[in-house]
C-alpha cells in the first residue's frame, strides 16, 4: 500500500471518529475533541496529495496581486468602524454586532477571493497544463479550496486585535468570542465552496464574482424571508437560509446542527466542483 492511500485511510477514520464525537455526545469537551479530530483527519488525508502544493501556490497568488491588500484594508476598516460604534453606543464590551457585520461582509469578500480560482486558469489556458499533469481533479479542487480558505483565515487574523482591546478595557465573554469565530470560519468555508463552484463554470472573473455573490446572498436572504413566513414551509425555508444558522454562534452557542449545516453544504458544493472540473474531460 502506498504512503498516500495509508494516509487517506487514517484521515477518513479520524474524520468519522470526530463526527461521531460531535453528533452522538452532548458533552462540550467531547464535542470539541471531535472537532479537532475531524480537522486532523482532513489534514492527514490531504498531507501526501498534491493539494498542499496547489494550495500554497494559490495562497501565494493572492499576495502577488493588489487584491489581497485592498480586501484586507476594506474588510478591517469597516469592521473597526462598526466595532467602535457598537461599543460607544452600548457602553458594554459586546461583540455580537461586530461578528454580525463580519459575516455580512464575508458575503462580499468571499466572491472576490474565489472569483479567480478556476476562472483565471481557464482564461490563461493553464487549466490545460494543470489537468494534463498527473494530478486528480479532486486534488486540484481541494487544493484551490484550501488555498482560498487559508487566505480567508489570514484575512480574519487581524480582527483578534479587537479582542485584545476588549480584554484590556473590560471583561469580554471569551466563550462567545470563540463561538463567533467558529461561526465565521464555517460560514466562510461554505461561501468559498460556492464561489469555487461558480468559478469552475466561467472564464470571466467578473461573472464569476457576481454570480457567486448573488447565489450566496440569496442563500442568506432566504433565511430572513422564512422567519416571517408561517407554518412548516416557513420553517423549512428558514432552515435552508444561511443566516439562521449563524445567529446562534454570535450568541455564544456552537450547536452541532449548525456546524453540520455548513459542513454539509461545503462538502456538497466541493463535490459539485470536482464533478464540474471532471466534466471538462468528457465534454
Amino acid at each position: 500500500m502506498s504512503k498516500q492511500s495509508l494516509f487517506y485511510i487514517i484521515g477518513a477514520a479520524l474524520c468519522i471518529a470526530g463526527l461521531v464525537l460531535v453528533l452522538a455526545f452532548t458533552s462540550a469537551g467531547l464535542n470539541i475533541i471531535g472537532g479537532v479530530l475531524f480537522l486532523l483527519g482532513c489534514v492527514a488525508g490531504l498531507m501526501f496529495t498534491h493539494a498542499p502544493t496547489i494550495a500554497r501556490r494559490e495562497l501565494g497568488g493572492f499576495f502577488y496581486s493588489p487584491i489581497a491588500y485592498i480586501l484586507m484594508a476594506a474588510y478591517l476598516g469597516v469592521i473597526a468602524f462598526i466595532f467602535c460604534a457598537g461599543i460607544q453606543a452600548s457602553g458594554r464590551a459586546q461583540t455580537e454586532q461586530t461578528f454580525g457585520i463580519m459575516m455580512f461582509l464575508s458575503l462580499f469578500i468571499c466572491p472576490v477571493i474565489t472569483m479567480r480560482l478556476l476562472a483565471e486558469e481557464a482564461r490563461l489556458g493553464t487549466l490545460e497544463t494543470m489537468t494534463t499533469a498527473p494530478i486528480t481533479d479532486f486534488e486540484l479542487t481541494i487544493g484551490k479550496f484550501v488555498g482560498a480558505f487559508l487566505f480567508y483565515l489570514i484575512l480574519n487574523i487581524p480582527t483578534l486585535v479587537f479582542v485584545l482591546v476588549l480584554s484590556l478595557a473590560g471583561k469580554p465573554d471569551y466563550g462567545t468570542i470563540i463561538a463567533s469565530y467558529v461561526g465565521i470560519v464555517l460560514f466562510g468555508a461554505m461561501l468559498i465552496s460556492v464561489g469555487l463552484l461558480v468559478s469552475a463554470f466561467t472564464k470571466n472573473q467578473v461573472i464569476s464574482a457576481f454570480v457567486s455573490f448573488v447565489a450566496t446572498f440569496l442563500l442568506y436572504l432566504v433565511g430572513i424571508m422564512g422567519r416571517n413566513a408561517p407554518g412548516i414551509p416557513g420553517k423549512v425555508i428558514s432552515y435552508i437560509g444561511a443566516a439562521t444558522h449563524y445567529m446562534d454562534f454570535t450568541r455564544g452557542m456552537i450547536m452541532s446542527q449548525h456546524v453540520l449545516y455548513y459542513i454539509t453544504l461545503c462538502v456538497f458544493f466541493l463535490f459539485l466542483t470536482v464533478r464540474t472540473v471532471e466534466s471538462h474531460r468528457w465534454r
Binding site: 497568488g61 486528480t136 471538462h280
Partner: protein
C-alpha cells in the same frame, strides 16, 4: 509508444477528428502536419487526456488514455498550443511547483530543475518573473517544464510558433537533441521544420490522415512531369503501362493546344527517363518536356490537403 486506433472526436455534429489510426514507435521524432483547423491540436489534447475522444481508443506509453489517465500523464511532457504560464510567478518557482505536481521526488527536484533549465537555455533568467519574459524565453520555460519529470514521450503543439528565426533554430536543435532520449510527437504547419527535425511525418486534413511517410521514403520517391504533343488519353494509357509508374495525373500548364501535360508518380528509386524517351520515339510523339524531381514535403502537403477544398472553389467564384 503511442498507438491510436480509430479515434474520432465530434464537436456537436462536426467531426474534428475523424477515425484516425497511427502508431509512433520508441525514439522516433514524428511531425504532425496539417492546415489550420485540421484536428492536430484536438488529437494531441485527446492523447494527453485533456479532452476525451468520442470513439476509438489510444494507448500512450502502454497505458490506456481513458482508464489509466494518471499513468499516461506521468509519462508525457506536454507543451500546449501557445504555452500557457502563470505570469506572476518566477521561472524557478514555477518549475518547482510543476515538479511537485509531476511527482519528482523532493531530493531530485533541484537537480532536475537545474538540468531542465540548462538544456533549454533558460538558466539565465531563472529568477525573472514570467510576465516579463519574451516569447522565446517563455517557450523555453514551457519546454523545460516538459522535461522536468524525464518523460518517455514529448508531445509538443506548435513549439516554434511566434519565435524569431534564431529562436526557431535553437528550439529545433533542442528538439532534435531531445529526440535522442525521448519519443517526440510535434505538431506544426511549418514544413521546413519537419524537414529539418523529423524522421517521419503524418499529414492530417479535415480530421483524417491524408498521408504518412518517413522522410527517407520521401527523398527516395521521384516524380516526373512530362509534356508531349499527343492525344492525352493515348499518352496516359501508354505511360500507365510502363513498369514503375504508380499513378498518372493531369497537370495544368500545357503550352500548346495539341500537347498534353501529365505528372507521373513513381515507385521509390525508379528512374524511367530512358524508358519514356524510348516510348515516345516508338509512338512518334514529339516530347516537349521531361523533368524528374524528388518529391518534396511541400508537394505531398499541397497535394493531400488542397484537393479536398476544390468543391468549394466554384461557389466562391459565384459569390
Amino acid at each position: 509508444m503511442i498507438s491510436v486506433k480509430n479515434l474520432t472526436k465530434m464537436y456537436g455534429d462536426f467531426p474534428a477528428v475523424n477515425d484516425i489510426s497511427f502508431e509512433v514507435g520508441e525514439g522516433e521524432i514524428v511531425g504532425f502536419l496539417g492546415p489550420n483547423g485540421a484536428g492536430k491540436t484536438t488529437t494531441m489534447r485527446i492523447l494527453t487526456c485533456f479532452i476525451p475522444a468520442t470513439e476509438g481508443t489510444a494507448t500512450v506509453a502502454g497505458y490506456d488514455i481513458f482508464t489509466q489517465s494518471l499513468q499516461v500523464r506521468q509519462n508525457i511532457g506536454y507543451l500546449p498550443e501557445n504555452n500557457p504560464l502563470y505570469p506572476e510567478m518566477r521561472v524557478a518557482e514555477y518549475l518547482n511547483f510543476r515538479a511537485k505536481l509531476k511527482n519528482v521526488p523532493r531530493g531530485d527536484r533541484k537537480a532536475r530543475i537545474g538540468e531542465a533549465l540548462e538544456r533549454c537555455g533558460a538558466d539565465a533568467f531563472a529568477h525573472q518573473v514570467i510576465g516579463t519574459l519574451s516569447k522565446g524565453q517563455r517557450q523555453r520555460v514551457g519546454l523545460a517544464d516538459c522535461l522536468l519529470h524525464n518523460p518517455r514521450i514529448l508531445i509538443l503543439d506548435e513549439p516554434t510558433i511566434g519565435l524569431d528565426p534564431n529562436q526557431i533554430r535553437h528550439v529545433r536543435a533542442l528538439i532534435k537533441d531531445l529526440g535522442k532520449q525521448h519519443m517526440v510527437l510535434l505538431s506544426t504547419h511549418i514544413l521546413p521544420e519537419v524537414e529539418s527535425v523529423c524522421e517521419r511525418f503524418i499529414i492530417i486534413n479535415q480530421g483524417r490522415i491524408a498521408a504518412e511517410m518517413s522522410m527517407k521514403d520521401l527523398q527516395r520517391s521521384p516524380y516526373i512531369e512530362i509534356e508531349a504533343a499527343a492525344p492525352e488519353g493515348d499518352l496516359r494509357v501508354a505511360l500507365q503501362q510502363l513498369d514503375g509508374v504508380v499513378g498518372v495525373k493531369r497537370t495544368p500548364g500545357a503550352q500548346h493546344r495539341e500537347s498534353a501535360r501529365l505528372t507521373l508518380e513513381l515507385k521509390p528509386d525508379a528512374d524511367l527517363r530512358a524508358d519514356i524517351s524510348a516510348l515516345m520515339s516508338q509512338k512518334q510523339w514529339p516530347l516537349l518536356e521531361l523533368r524528374q524531381r524528388a518529391l518534396t514535403l511541400e508537394d505531398v502537403f499541397v497535394r493531400t490537403t488542397i484537393q479536398n477544398e476544390a468543391p468549394n472553389a466554384p461557389a466562391k467564384e459565384v459569390a
